[in-house]
Symmetry: C2
Subunit: 374 residues, 2 copies
């Protein structure tokens, strides 16, 4: 290929998006709700979830959609995983502040309602609620033939955390240890680039995946009729996003008991690795640096996309999770205890790096994979 | 016109939508969250808002979008009101169960982010937060060029109510009095029909409104450059939806004090008049009937739409709010007290009808305006 592919050339202008969002935020004033009353805003660094006061607790809301992954689901008419994607994108954000997700609402916009698609979405959302242990507290389906050309799915999750138990990043320090939680595949970010690579190669989503899918182990592919034949590329790409409530909510609960030697104060920061890849770590602290010296193994679909798309390695790590969907920064003293506790509940959890004071920067075992801004 | 226009011919198939939503709901299981723990679901009739347990309180979530009204905002590039519409559609639903809204998140899907549009949206959402007295606790802007052709805006509101203070409809009885709260215009429902009428007439949104807009009084039109010239049709149609937090949240608060003779137990049901118009009343109770004998005056834009579109009167009342955006059913003993209290805070509030036991039906002073199902 003449030019390597990147995320911007795939039609997503991250800077323009940032500028649009900044315009929106600049227009917002402060809340009229007074500190100490229900609904008063609580500021935390990182901004993974918005927190408000509620008695002895803080409530957190997270809102997000599945994005262009939906276009692959549309093309294949396979909706079984996207409810899980939608849930994961939201509840995983709540976990980052130490909040336990408790409820969820979905928003579906369609050009025309289709009962069969909705039944599949409903089943997917029901499984998502079970995996995330939340109540589906409502939802809306809007018919918008003049606005959407195919189905859009987003949602909002509600969580809570006791005052004083939030994970804010303020205890982060040089020497903290990074624990990586394996992803289940591409999750729900980077699909504009996935689709561009597919267009470029001329490959079909129904083509057999030209790599050893079974070896990835930690993926759970959810398609009827797959048994007895190899996975297709579409099935690999639609693999639903990992919901980290199990084991992270259990970890938060365990911290409050005497059963473990560590406490909530040993969890210094949690990062949901979404769009922006490892650069998301920079959102957790203004000054500290992050080094990944023992990365988790990326799934084979990442290698395939990089090779056939001619994508630079740094761009891969800025666009995709590359095998690691969540990173927990913990106190070094208890790092191996916490890692072992998590690894017993989620195969593949491992220590992947550490926090340093060499500047606000992410570095990586792979030279050139380096980020200085989110 | 050969055939009268109706909502279905405008491209919205309410039955198909209902069937799609039923498919989705049928796929959902019960929550795994146990009664008495945070997040356990609480069933209420009507379904305006989903309630979950949280200590001594119930939390309520409502999610909804602005719908095809956005297409008029897009056509005119006028975004100043749609944030208020989005807020209103959600917080007004929360009020129906007696919940006080405290926080909100927005979801914006665009083909391409535009900082100017986002600044206008931000200003609109900021004003909406002030009017609804909530904290904006987050938001998401998604670039989805393959899914949306123009901007879609939805949101989720969070509210709370003390256990025992919910308004469930279970105290409704024959003889209860209906208090109508004036709308500010078309609000956020029925715009597929509005757009169809406009197409049919060939009128432009920039045409001067051919009716006496100023006389409506209770509308607040929000467009720059309007001063000194008559309102256009587009400006009338984009008039933002009334947010009823003021006066309804204040009414809920007043009920808990000794300052008034009535209490929360005298508020038997609250109906947000949205898509489906007056038929929404049927959602509040399984058996009781509703008669509107003294309707509020509809705004002149409704009469104009009906006349130029050749729309049947019943269809108008099934599609639009016809001047009344919220209905509160109260105990007859305190009805005039409560109505006076509200009328001092919102001009135009009046007693419009009563509850009866003549069957599960809505009837109206205008013969033929009758609904037996939502």
């Amino acid at each position: 290929m003449a030019e390597p592919m990147d995320y911007a050339s795939a039609g997503v202008d991250i800077d323009l998006e940032g500028s649009a969002v900044a315009s929106l935020i600049a227009s917002l004033g402060r809340s009229t709700r007074q500190p100490g009353t229900p609904g008063a805003p609580v500021d935390l660094p990182g901004g993974f979830g918005g927190l408000i006061e509620f008695g002895d607790s803080l409530l957190a809301l997270a809102t997000d959609g599945v994005g262009s992954k939906l276009q692959i689901a549309s093309a294949l008419n396979q909706w079984g995983g996207v409810g899980i994607d939608c849930m994961a994108m939201n509840v995983n954000d709540l976990l980052c502040v130490g909040a336990e997700p408790i409820a969820f609402v979905d928003y579906v916009a369609v050009p025309k309602p289709d009962p069969e698609t909705h039944a599949a979405l409903g089943a997917s959302l029901a499984e998502a609620c079970r995996l995330a242990r939340v109540t589906l507290a409502g939802g809306e389906t809007a018919s918008l033939p003049g606005i959407v050309t195919e189905l859009d799915l987003s949602g909002t999750a509600l969580g809570y955390v006791k005052k004083g138990d939030t994970i804010t990043g303020e205890n982060l320090k040089s020497g903290d240890v990074l624990i990586g939680l394996p992803s289940s595949g591409i999750h729900s970010n980077g699909y504009s680039l996935v689709r561009k690579v597919m267009e470029h190669t001329g490959a079909q989503y129904t083509d057999e995946a030209p790599f050893a899918v079974a070896s990835i182990g930690r993926s759970v592919l959810r398609f009827e009729g797959q048994e007895g034949r190899p996975f297709t590329l579409g099935e690999v790409f639609l693999n639903p996003t990992k919901i980290y409530c199990d084991p992270v909510v259990d970890l938060l609960h365990a911290c409050a008991t005497d059963e473990v030697a560590f406490s909530i104060a040993d969890l210094h920061g949690i990062c949901h690795v979404t769009g922006g890849g490892l650069s998301n770590l920079l959102r957790l602290h203004d000054q500290l640096g992050w080094h990944i010296d023992a990365p988790l193994q990326p799934h084979p679909e990442f290698e395939w996309l990089q090779n056939v798309g001619g994508i630079e390695t740094r761009e891969m790590y800025r666009t995709f999770n590359m095998g690691c969907g969540m990173i927990i920064a913990v106190d070094a003293e208890h790092a191996s205890d916490i890692c072992d506790w998590l690894a017993q509940r989620l195969t593949g959890v491992a220590i992947i790096g550490s926090v340093n004071d060499a500047g606000h920067k992410v570095t990586h075992a792979i030279e050139g994979v380096e980020f200085t801004h989110y």
